[in-house]
């Protein structure tokens, strides 16, 4: 079964890599290969999903204990968010040139992480953990899409790259769409915090303990709140809005995947 898991994962990785290459061809060489891009991503998702499912079945718990599992499941959920976005917004598939490299960073990191089997601590055995993680993945997926749209605005501000994305909607429209996805991310981020508090109360008897991940996740939430307030107040130009959402995503990315570097578990000391 381990062989099948690994084989499927490698095939999925191949699919994602090819999708990354196609995205560059689509944007830089202006080829209409968007459907191939969508097909490769969908294929990668299916194979990756089966690999995760086999591991889940074998270990008896979801992929959220070790760094490898966290990265792998997030690679899958973020790719799903990107694929759904491409599906519903064919006109914006050129954002792949921004989104897929981000996913490839996650993929590279996952490939060098320790994929050893893990055991689930008793405190993780609750439905609220799944709810908490599910909301978190939706939030990060929505913010990633906002980042992809913001990336197009930023590309336009760099003269040499502008011509590759000039056929896309204009900056104010992209800015509004990016804002909408950020707002969606904010709602699910809030739900993630509430579900996490319920899980924490269930597991450890308190809903908030100011552990590093909780504290820095609250920072991410506050930054998003700040961004959502800044827009109606100062009406920043699209480039500034795009820079802000990029800064928030970078911060969220470092919090979500970086904090486990400074703590032994996603929530330090609580397992």
């Amino acid at each position: 079964m381990i062989m099948a898991e690994e084989g499927l994962l490698w095939l999925a990785i191949l699919g994602y890599l090819l999708a990354g290459m196609v995205s560059v061809i689509v944007v830089i060489f202006n080829r209409g290969w968007e459907r191939i891009l969508l097909l490769l991503l969908s294929l990668g998702l299916i194979l990756h999903g089966f690999s995760l499912g086999l591991r889940w079945q074998r270990l008896g718990h979801g992929p959220f204990i070790s760094m490898f599992e966290i990265l792998s499941s997030n690679l899958w959920s973020l790719t799903l968010a990107v694929t759904l976005f491409f599906w519903f917004y064919p006109a914006l598939r050129a954002t792949s040139v921004v989104l897929l490299p981000t996913l490839l960073v996650l993929m590279g990191w996952m490939m060098v992480s320790n994929s050893a089997d893990t055991a689930i601590p008793p405190t993780y055995d609750t439905i609220w953990l799944y709810v908490h993680i599910g909301f978190g993945k939706i939030a990060l997926g929505a913010i990633l899409v906002a980042v992809g749209i913001g990336g197009i605005i930023l590309m336009r501000s760099l003269g040499s790259l502008a011509r590759h994305v000039q056929r896309l909607p204009d900056n104010p429209r992209l800015d509004e769409l990016s804002y909408r996805f950020a707002a969606l991310g904010f709602i699910f981020h809030s739900l993630m915090l509430v579900a996490g508090a319920i899980w924490s109360l269930d597991a450890w008897g308190r809903y908030w303990s100011w552990d590093p991940l909780e504290t820095w996740t609250l920072h991410t939430w506050l930054l998003l709140a700040l961004y959502l307030h800044l827009r109606p107040l100062f009406r920043p130009p699209p480039v500034v809005g795009a820079l802000l959402i990029w800064a928030i995503f970078t911060f969220a990315f470092l919090v979500f995947f970086g904090v486990p570097f400074i703590s032994r578990a996603p929530h330090q000391g609580v397992v």
């Binding site: 896309l168 809030s190 008897g205 809903y207």
Partner: protein, 333 residues
């Protein structure tokens, strides 16, 4: 003048200033340079003033029910969060098997307005087992506790992991800290009242050496105690269960170099009195948590999120999402 002040307090700029205060204060608080309670109370109260003034001054809130629900719920969230910080209690206590909780935590942290009802709480730790998987992976903890409800009816329960003991809002949770505790009876030679003591050996008995140094209270006698196990406690290769060992001895070393190996009921004589080893018990570490605002916080948080989702749904429905992806006539160069 009053109107101008109210307008300033209701402004989004003031909201931004408070958000920045929180963003700047939280890292300081995480480093222990600023009290969490002070930061959250000040920021929470400022937000309440800001949102309260905004609800009063801006007609937008009345015309947009989602926004009204969100901000009203946010005031309640902040109010309950401030209440929580002012009234919370968290602490820790270790209890020997058979010991009744005295009402006092061994370490604690509390909000300034916490009404201390903990001192009235009583329950007895009645032993535990912990399942382990291969590789010393901790599984289910089962801790038996007994308490009296309303001072009358005796209740018992098994707590551990996801289940806590809830006594008048104080939640007692088992922790990973647990171990063995030899119990001694000290009978002073001068005829004064005998006293009983249990000595908590280091946690994680399957890993850490079971040794403790101890000075017998009211004397100058210092002893070193080592638990000698005559049975295999854990097999890291297999699944096993941590419980009190059945076959064990206790090595007792005194400062003068004498060594005694004790079994249940063994005694050691000193010039100041007699030490009786009564037997081995278990001890369990508990975390205590109390927060009367918790349920209100949950309900108001969910109401705030609902209000926000409602507001964005209405706001974003004015122009459909797909309207933003049709390619404009004016291309961007």
């Amino acid at each position: 003048m009053v109107t101008k002040l109210a307008t300033s307090l209701a402004s989004l700029k003031f909201s931004l200033a408070i958000l920045l205060l929180l963003l700047g204060g939280l890292p300081l608080s995480a480093q222990g340079m600023l009290s969490n309670t002070v930061l959250l109370t000040v920021a929470g109260l400022l937000f309440i003033v800001n949102i309260g003034a905004a609800l009063q001054c801006h007609t937008t809130f009345r015309s947009q029910p989602g926004l009204l629900v969100f901000h009203t719920a946010l005031v309640v969230v902040l109010g309950t969060a401030v209440t929580s910080r002012l009234t919370y209690f968290k602490g820790a206590v270790e209890l020997t098997q058979g010991e009744i909780f005295s009402g006092y935590a061994q370490s604690e942290e509390r909000g300034p307005w916490h009404a201390d009802h903990l001192k009235n709480m009583r329950f007895r730790h009645d032993g535990f087992t912990v399942d382990y998987g291969p590789g010393l992976k901790r599984g289910t903890t089962r801790n038996q506790v007994i308490w009296q409800e309303g001072g009358q009816r005796t209740q018992s329960a098994t707590i551990g992991d996801g289940t806590s003991l809830n006594l008048a809002g104080y939640r007692f949770r088992t922790t990973a800290n647990k171990g063995f505790a030899p119990v001694f009876l000290w009978i002073p030679a001068d005829g004064s009242q005998p006293s009983r003591a249990s000595l908590h050996l280091p946690s994680y008995p399957a890993i850490l050496e079971q040794v403790r140094h101890w000075r017998i209270p009211q004397t100058a006698i210092r002893i070193k105690i080592t638990l000698l196990l005559d049975e295999e406690l854990a097999n890291p290769e297999k699944s096993w269960q941590l419980h009190l060992p059945r076959r064990y001895r206790l090595k007792l070393e005194t400062g003068d170099g004498s060594v005694n190996v004790l079994k249940d009921g063994s005694t050691v004589r000193f010039s100041e009195g007699v030490l009786v080893f009564e037997g081995l018990r278990s001890w369990m570490g508990y975390r205590i948590h109390y927060d009367p605002a918790m349920n209100w916080l949950l309900a108001s948080s969910l109401a705030a999120i609902f209000g926000l989702a409602w507001h964005y749904y209405k706001h974003f429905s004015i122009h459909h999402w797909t309207e933003y992806v049709s390619v404009s006539e004016k291309c961007v160069e």
